[in-house]
Symmetry: C2
């Protein structure tokens, strides 16, 4: 540690950003990272002894301050395999060097272990603006450079996580010895990754590390080349304690009173919409309209200033132009308001960064939390609270949704209403000048009204804070994230190879997965996952069985299962026989179980019941085919009944359905959904995708180990 | 050619499936495929001369019938770089061999060009059960073996197509000289691929070819190892001429008369549903119910047998059990029926392969075409023809849909009805015992009522016939294909490396793309593409511009554009300025053009009109954000109007819209769709995905070159 400290201090004192190769090697050695053995020999005998000690083959290089181009001077020999060859080589190098420059001072000959066998990999570390110190791992050569086959983790990493990284690249098989190659020493590689992670965590001023290439064979891993870049350590993030955040968030989500700054009686004004939504939404706490001119608004007495309100105020909703905000916020702070809901725009999003900074400082000075600015407000249905200028929403349920953009917030509202999605909260975070996803996750974690969280985000202010909060929540509730800006891989100035590989989205993808978050590929997926995940029970194992009336749907559902990373159960003979007892002789058991198209409702009921009762099966995917014999609503009612009966008996498993048929299947899908069976018409992909999302969460929560 | 013929005949006569290495090399030479030069030398001088001729470095190998293990005998030397080294090497090898076995007969020393520089690639050919002869290309080593980075084309391939293959692998950059490597001689590689394609096309009994590895550098490409497998050539497919197929299909889709074999007056019977659908669907030709017992059915005179019908019959719809089909089909054939619509199941799909073969033969004997068996029937809306037991469908339009599965057919029907999708035809192909996708494509190609074709398929009977037909259609109309069974990569017995790489789906994917087909990833995509593609005009260039009221949607729409392979236009300064004139100062021009959320309808109208009139822009993606200032229907009506006005002025460009807002955006989306603007609520992905599909077709049709 001291040794590393000294090297870094020296480099920084000299204004250098790059360390020299010997400095890099010294740091590696201090952290137990193997580099090729080496030494300087003054005689042929010394060289031979050194080589024997290091292990063959070796490389010899002339050491002379006067010879810059060693190769031109005949000063480099590679691949020497015996002591004799080394002795001979020593003399040849000396002779060549003297012939090249008779006056050159010669300090000796460097003897270096020659590495290059086994697998070529790259291990590195970068300092990410969002997540801070990250370690990276990939296979060397074409695989990382052309195919970008690399994986990232937050540093430091445990040895176990580092081992996981080895399997997280597309070409993972290679290290396990694909194509008859020697398998790499996985333990040594993982240890090396973990050491790099410790190094950059111990010394934040190390901004990038490149061990490239690292040669790994069955006996270990050696970093053949080391590049270390130093610089400004990332700024320390100050975080509030969980208790403090909870105290604040509970006052914001369950306020006893709400003031509306800029409340108005005039239709069309934001301050009027907010007032009406609070009142019509059914909020039971006290509502204080603040307006310097009106004596009362919508039947409630109004106050000239929040200071005049004769009660405590938990939340102040701002519905005034940006320029009036600072003074009003100052008053709110003095009043002891817990949460300022900052609807106004005209701050950082329009370039007014100073204005935003000003209100952040006011809020901070008073220990007040601020949501926004530039938001539509927020909903919390358990309190009938619609503190927003949008329309009220009253379908209570267990998913909390947040969005960074107002447009996405509106899409959440419309989708929720049309699908009757049960919601606990909808929160706009806008510019995230203060309250961000970490704060909200901290609240939703302990909120019994919330069983799943779905977040649209474009960036994270404090990536590590988010990961920490998400990891805690994920243990009990799914966290679904739509990360926008996936493909905008900002060109980033990078001094190292690893740095150049750290495209924004690859980093987000790896780190969000590491946090146990379920990433939604698009907006509609976010909404569908948000609606379905609280409805689906958690699976208890990986065995998925498809039961279908339409062979064609069965094939497409199988495709979808593979796409969603689900495991189609290998049906054991006794279970196969049990299914066969219910289906026609030309139907196909196995998986999918194809009951064939002309079957009566009882065939669906019998096979689904078997699927629910057999303990070896953990989830069901149903394919329904509209026929006269089993019409859509008959199927829907029957399946809902069978699922409910079996749930009552303790056979609680996720069931999803794809319905193929005429328009009546739409009503049947809705009926099923309302009865706890996730169902969609005209798609074989969506039911399986949401089941896949549930599985991703169940795995992250450790339910399937 | 003769030389190759002889080698193959000899191998086949000897019952061999594999050719020897010298046989393989000889075949390669006959086709101009470079293999390492070689020869046998009897003396050191001869060896040195031979080596100079072949080019250095070379490999020397002892040639002796008595020495099996050449290396053990010191009989192999590699990497000899000069004539002296070769001369010296010749003597050393001879000495070693003699020392190893003094009695061994020695025929000389083989001198072989040593290859191995540049890039290692694999070039091969396989015989696919669906598509016949295919050529394959991939990068050698880990890339093909672990990452399966390989591409296929129908053999033979043109040099131009072969060049395209080099860019079709993920690691294509490598051959262009990524990482400072020497670029490969692309012409030589393409020529080599083309030659392999010619070879397997000329000699169908060559079932697999493996050139692995091929070494390619800047000066050429040499096949270092050759493996050729011979066997049964694939069966010749007999195809009807286009004229014959058209004559048949026109009688089937535009029949003057339809007989219903098994017509019934009894509700619930298939023969009753078919009759009612024909009558209620509004079919204007003659309808002849066939039923041995009833004098009339639904008011129409019935006949005991089709033979009794006193008119010509174009189409006979079968609604009788399988066991009665052969006799009735025979009668239909004698009657001169053009098309037998074989609704009954109970044939190959239940294992009754012989029964299916029997009816195929009956149909063939009479020159009658058969659709099915095991289908729901077919619809052709221009003739008001609903020859099906499902419900009638009457929304006329320009997309023809076909499905191999009845369940998928029902999903097509339900989706069509609920989205009011205009359809020309819906056709069930079921077991495809006779009529298949090729026949239907041949009809739809020349059918003016059809402007796009969407097909669900699980397999192809004649892959080459399909590709041929699809290529013709694609020139004028999009062909969309949902290939089910993507992930069921059947384990295939393969004697070569290339064979093992030819997983079903990879082959389908490459060949369908080569045919210009737009592949839909799932059922819902198939339906959405089918609905949207005829509505969207074809783009005239690659420049896509996003105009959005919600910054958040803009980011997601950009992500979606990259996912869909669309090019976000780099907006030139004058155009940027023109957009800026319409938007607030804190709005963002560039691309997306962010008009910001609070804007009135005129801002949408002005920017969209600019996008439609500027010739450098080829397609628009709009992001709408629901506000009080611009409510959803105001936006929808205005955009529909602007688009219609500009279309009337000749500014015809595809416009797609993503609407974020409360439930009113659903009605607005429908309104827009009905007015030729493809629009979806609550999703940023779908509008861009369908635009991407339109672009894929436009590129395949050569419209964007």
């Amino acid at each position: 540690m001291e040794q590393v400290r000294e090297i870094l201090d020296k480099a920084l004192a000299e204004g250098r950003t790059g360390l020299t190769a010997p400095e890099g090697r010294e740091i590696c050695q201090a952290y137990g990272i193997a580099t090729p053995g080496e030494g300087v020999a003054g005689s042929a005998t010394e060289a031979a002894e050194l080589a024997a000690e290091l292990g063959f083959p070796v490389v010899l290089k002339i050491v002379s301050p006067d010879i810059l181009h060693k190769t031109d001077a005949g000063g480099v020999l590679v691949g020497l395999k015996t002591e004799d060859e080394v002795r001979d080589g020593f003399e040849r190098i000396l002779a060549s060097a003297r012939a090249y420059d008779p006056g050159a001072r010669i300090d000796g000959v460097q003897v270096q272990q020659m590495v290059g066998g086994g697998h070529e990999v790259i291990i590195g570390a970068v300092t990410d603006p969002t997540f801070g110190k990250l370690v990276a791992f990939g296979l060397g050569g074409v695989l990382v450079e052309v195919l970008k086959d690399v994986t990232f983790r937050l540093a430091p990493v445990s040895d176990e996580d580092a081992l996981g990284m080895l399997d997280d690249i597309k070409a993972a098989q290679v290290l396990r010895g694909a194509r008859g190659a020697e398998p790499a020493d996985r333990g040594a590689l993982a240890a090396l990754i973990a050491r790099v992670g410790r190094l950059v965590s111990d010394f934040p001023e190390i901004v990038e590390v490149d061990l490239n290439p690292v040669f790994a064979d069955a006996n270990g891993a050696v970093a053949a080349d080391v590049r270390i870049i130093v610089g400004e350590p990332p700024a320390q993030v100050t975080r509030l304690s969980r208790e403090v955040i909870l105290g604040q968030m509970n006052r914001i989500f369950k306020p006893r009173s709400v003031a509306v700054i800029g409340a108005s009686g005039e239709t069309g004004k934001i301050g009027n919409s907010v007032m009406r939504n609070l009142i019509n939404g059914g909020y039971q706490g006290q509502i204080f309209p603040i307006n310097p001119k009106a004596p009362d608004i919508l039947g409630l007495p109004a106050y000239k200033s929040i200071a005049d309100v004769p009660h405590d105020v938990d939340v102040a909703v701002f519905a005034i132009p940006a320029k009036f905000v600072p003074a009003a916020l100052e008053e709110a702070g003095r009043k002891g308001v817990a949460g300022a809901i900052m609807i106004p725009s005209g701050f950082a999003e329009t370039g007014n960064v100073a204005g935003q900074q000003e209100i952040v400082e006011i809020a901070r000075r008073h220990g007040m939390r601020m949501l926004g600015p530039n938001i539509y407000g927020y909903y919390y249905t358990p309190e009938n609270l619609c503190a927003t200028f949008c329309t009220p929403y009253d379908v209570k349920g267990s998913v909390a949704l947040t969005s960074q953009s107002g447009g996405i917030g509106m899409a959440i509202l419309g989708f929720s209403r049309t699908t009757k999605m049960g919601v606990s909260a909808i929160v706009g975070v806008g510019n995230k000048a203060d309250v961000d996803e970490d704060d909200l996750l901290t609240f939703f974690e302990q909120d019994d009204n919330t069983q799943a969280v779905a977040m649209h985000l474009e960036d994270l202010k404090d990536g590590r804070g988010f990961v920490e909060a998400a990891r805690r929540v994920v243990r009990n509730k799914p966290v679904i994230v739509l990360k926008a800006g996936r493909t905008a891989m900002g060109a980033r100035a990078a001094g190292s190879h690893t740095g150049a590989l750290a495209g924004d989205d690859k980093v987000y993808d790896d780190i969000l997965r590491q946090a146990g978050v379920v990433r939604a590929p698009g907006l509609n997926d976010l909404l569908d996952y948000a609606r379905a995940l609280p409805v689906l029970p958690a699976p208890k194992g990986e065995n998925v069985v498809i039961i279908t009336g339409a062979g064609g749907s069965g094939v497409l559902l199988s495709d979808a299962c593979v796409d969603a990373g689900l495991t189609l159960m290998d049906i054991p003979p006794d279970l196969d026989e049990a299914f066969r007892a219910f289906i026609p002789p030309f139907g196909a058991a196995g998986n999918p179980v194809d009951i064939t198209g002309g079957e009566p409702p009882s065939t669906y009921a019998n096979t689904v019941r078997l699927g629910l009762t057999d303990d070896r099966i953990h989830a069901l995917v149903l394919g329904y085919w509209h026929t006269i014999v089993t019409p859509p609503m008959v199927f829907a009612e029957l399946i809902a009944e069978v699922v409910a009966e079996e749930r009552a008996r303790g056979n609680v498993k996720p069931v999803v359905v794809s319905l193929a048929g005429d328009t009546e299947v739409e009503e049947a899908s809705e009926y099923l959904y309302e009865h706890g069976v996730v169902a969609y018409p005209y798609t074989t992909e969506k039911p399986v995708a949401v089941l896949g999302a549930k599985y991703r969460w169940a795995r992250a929560a450790g339910l399937l180990r």
